[in-house]
């Protein structure tokens, strides 16, 4: 029978151009290739589509303008007008995650948002930035964030550690959510594809499931990029406004 590869094999990082400097392994991997591709495609889309800047936009220009307005509205609704200075960052994160998710759906490609290192690095970056913004804007008043308003004072010894733990769990839940969604979807599709090979004649049934699942994955890809971005907005808002 046909050889069935392990469902998790698609997440293996393979060096394409090995680069070793000292003891550090800086090889250009398939993950790095897809990240470069995501950035390059985003640039190509945005620069290419808006270069002519027609008043009645072409389809491509519409895509660029719609994604811009989508994120701009999200930033304005969640962070207020002060938050618009973070728009470039939020937009970059949105496009990076969105393109990463969708590029990962192409057969034989690689989904870098299914690597916990990538999502966790993004999440930690957002978390550190939001905390830094909080300290810069509010100084030590930022610590009042950990005492819920209206709570009785004698509850403080219990509430403050809970709030601090809850605050510190943010980057973890932010990173794990994107990673888990992407990895779970890709693994499920690989498992059902494996069933197709082993079932022989009845292999058409897992294919039907996979077709449906692929549709679901397209939704999940867009949705998780949206969720990651809106949570980034909310965390930055907490840094700007406190509560």
């Amino acid at each position: 029978m046909a050889e069935v590869s392990a469902p998790l094999e698609q997440f293996v990082i393979r060096p394409i151009i090995p680069i070793h400097i000292g003891t550090a392994d800086l090889s250009f991997t398939n993950s790095a290739l897809l990240m470069t591709l995501a950035v390059a495609l985003t640039m190509l889309l945005l620069v290419g589509a808006t270069r002519r800047g027609a008043l009645v936009p072409t389809r491509l220009q519409s895509i660029a303008e719609l994604s811009y307005e989508f994120v701009a509205n999200m930033v304005r609704d969640n962070m207020g007008t002060e938050g618009i200075e973070f728009f470039p960052l939020v937009f970059a994160i949105f496009m990076f995650v969105l393109f990463g998710n969708f590029l990962g759906l192409i057969p034989y490609s690689f989904s870098f948002t299914g690597q916990i290192v990538v999502t966790f690095a993004l999440a930690i970056f957002v978390f550190v930035l939001a905390t830094a913004v909080g300290f810069i804007k509010h100084g030590f008043h930022f610590f009042s964030f950990f005492m819920p308003p209206g709570a009785p004072l004698f509850m403080a010894p219990v509430l403050i550690p809970i709030e601090i733990i809850s605050y510190m769990s943010r980057p973890i839940s932010l990173g794990i959510r994107l990673f888990a969604n992407m990895m779970a979807g890709h693994t499920m599709m690989a498992v059902f594809a494996g069933f197709t090979l082993t079932l022989g004649f009845f292999g058409f049934f897992p294919i039907l499931i996979n077709v449906a699942m692929f549709g679901l994955e397209v939704i999940v890809c867009a949705l998780q990029a949206y969720v990651f971005t809106i949570l980034t907005c909310l965390y930055l808002r907490d840094g700007i406004h406190l509560h």
Partner: protein, 106 residues
């Protein structure tokens, strides 16, 4: 109706765009949230619960290790982490109430 020159096509386009945009703004948020489905929401609450527990237990374990107060740091961390997890899960669920302002908690 008095016609003062031909109708400005650009202004008409602008009005149509405004109309479409306000329609879009009303529709889009609900559309996006509802397509996530119950499974996505369940996963989200579950992750919220686990993440706080990981942080709580991790901090407790570190306190045990470096302050030498073994079992107590882990025990306290576990309970505080559970409390924080339930609190963040509760906040996440609160955001599903349906009213637009509470939608922010997502």
């Amino acid at each position: 109706m008095s016609e003062s020159g031909p109708p400005d096509p650009l202004r008409r386009l602008g009005e149509e765009l405004d109309k479409a945009r306000s329609r879009e703004r009303k529709r889009l948020p609900r559309d996006v949230t509802s397509s996530g489905g119950a499974m996505g929401f369940g996963l989200r609450v579950g992750i919220e619960l686990i993440a706080a527990l990981i942080v709580g237990v991790g901090l407790g374990w570190l306190a045990d290790r470096y302050l030498g107060i073994r079992p107590w740091g882990l025990i306290a961390g576990f309970f505080l982490g559970s409390a924080a997890g339930i609190m963040s899960a509760f906040r996440a669920v609160q955001g599903m109430g349906g009213s637009p302002p509470s939608d922010r908690e997502r």
